[in-house]
Amino acid sequence: MSGWAVFFIFYSVFIILYFIGLNGSYLLLVLLSFFGLRRSRITQKVSDRVQTFRSSFYKPLTIIIPAFNEETTIVDTIYSVLALQYPEFEIVIVNDGSRDNTLAVMKKQFKLRQSARSYNLDIPCGTIHNIYISADYPNLVIVDKDNGGKSDALNAGINVSQFPLFCNIDSDSVVDSAALLKVIDLFVKDRRVVAAGGTIRAANHCRIEDGHVVEARLSPRFWVRFQIVEYLRAFLFGRAGWSAIGGILILSGAFSVFRRKAVVDAGGYRPDTVGEDMELTLRIQRVMKSLKRDYRIVFLPDPVCWTQVPETYRGLRTQRRRWQRGLAESLFYNFSMFLNPQYGAVGMISFPFFFIFELLGPVIELSGYIVFLVAIYLGLLNPPFAILFLVVAILLGIMLSTSAILMEEIHFRKYPRLRDVLILFIFAILENFFYRQLHAWWRFQGLLDFLFRRRTWGTLDRYSFSEKNMEDAQS
């Protein structure tokens, strides 16, 4: 038997085992998330949050929003956050050395004046030049500092914040009025909770009025539709499943709430990674364990943060490369958790899963395509088997996405038109035919970026929410 044949047999066995491992895990996650979502739904039904919110017993909150070159969106963002219905909160906008008119726009719109408010440097951060307060909105605070990146901006925000909980909302996100309340409720009902997050959904082309998503609409953009299916998978069975076994590895940077003390104890956000949200979540767990503190990190599927997702090929590619690099950095910096029983389900299950299937996944997937083509060329392939195997792989992908859409239908029904849901199903089919492969390639590039320490930041195309709404209304 030729060397190639031997290699191919071993490789085939490896791929089959990998395939079973990956999809077996996904199927398990689907089951776990089904029960987890059900349980979460029962608790939501039983909790009378309206009354909680109207009582005088609540945890005050700081909302930290880092801003860099956000002159077109920052005012909309601030107004939408100011409109949040929460008994007591402050908003800390951290202007991270913007080169455009972000600060000037805020100064004018909110009548800012310099403040003598002081703060402790609980977490090292870049130089803060000034703190401003608003004449019209006493709970609005602007921190002006040198450019230091998102993590540094967040750390500065944490230093200035005064409340026991803080929430990081991205400047291009819109948070549901009730979403914040639902997440904070977790902290109130369980004192062990140190971090909690909700679901992210694509805001593109949704009808947004005064900072509320009034109607969820399916974007007509091709790339956005793929992402919507992906996000449903990632949150409705991905995170929900991990949360059910206490194995949450990531909370989305777009919308997550933390106990300030836990983050300060963990040393704040790490400035030298692009996956700062993920890395922090991992590090908090390490620190909590080392301090021997009982803790919980929880994912709640119901509270939604609507965010702009990339609408173009380039924007999406940049984002996914960055995410993969962030994942690599986070896992690398916290590698002591890998298969470490001390970290429970996170160390023994989710960390290895993310390492093998998410981090190395693109390498294995791409190598699979290459070996497949080589095997065809060398005549080593058993065509019926290969074709059927491919069909199984594609169908499994479709089934998993469909199960996520089904869970969305059972629990949330955010898209009012059935037509939109059926379109999502079609994209769940389509994504297996080139999107997935393209995504694997981008993630592979992201991994290379990590290995060769490439600094590709990129800028996401930005549209002001109100401008976009006008466009939509006219189209």
Partner: protein, 123 residues
């Protein structure tokens, strides 16, 4: 014949909103019903309202903000604030801003009607 008085209701719970509308209707009032702060403010400022019943907790603009802006332009308009018992801060703020009366939830519709009538000098 005396003109029917027009009462503005700003209450985001649709059931409670409709009940108050019904009860006031039975008492001979005309009702302009709104379910969020923005709409309520617009109605209060642009229409010929004789009195307003405003819930504190409303989407877009809360009742306290609505009251503040009404008072800036229509200082004489009788306003009853509906609030939750435990939110003493709201009651305090509302009275400071010039609410004529407040009513805490849960409430009795008969009491609400009585308050309204006394404000309008109909008792």
């Amino acid at each position: 014949m005396e003109k029917q008085k027009l009462i503005l209701i700003a209450e985001d719970d649709p059931s409670v909103n409709r009940l108050i509308t019904f009860k006031l209707g039975k008492e001979g009032f005309k009702v302009r019903s709104t379910s969020d702060g923005k709409e309520a403010l617009k109605a209060a400022l642009e229409e010929d309202i004789d009195a307003a019943i405003i819930d504190v907790m409303m989407p877009f603009l809360d009742g306290i903000q609505v009251l503040k802006r009404i008072r800036a332009e229509k200082p004489q308009l009788p306003v009853i604030i509906l609030t939750v018992k435990s939110r003493g801060e709201d009651i305090h703020k509302a009275l400071e801003l010039g609410a004529d009366q407040y009513m805490t939830k849960p409430f009795q519709t008969a009491e609400l009607v009585k308050s309204l009538k006394s404000l309008l000098g109909e008792l």
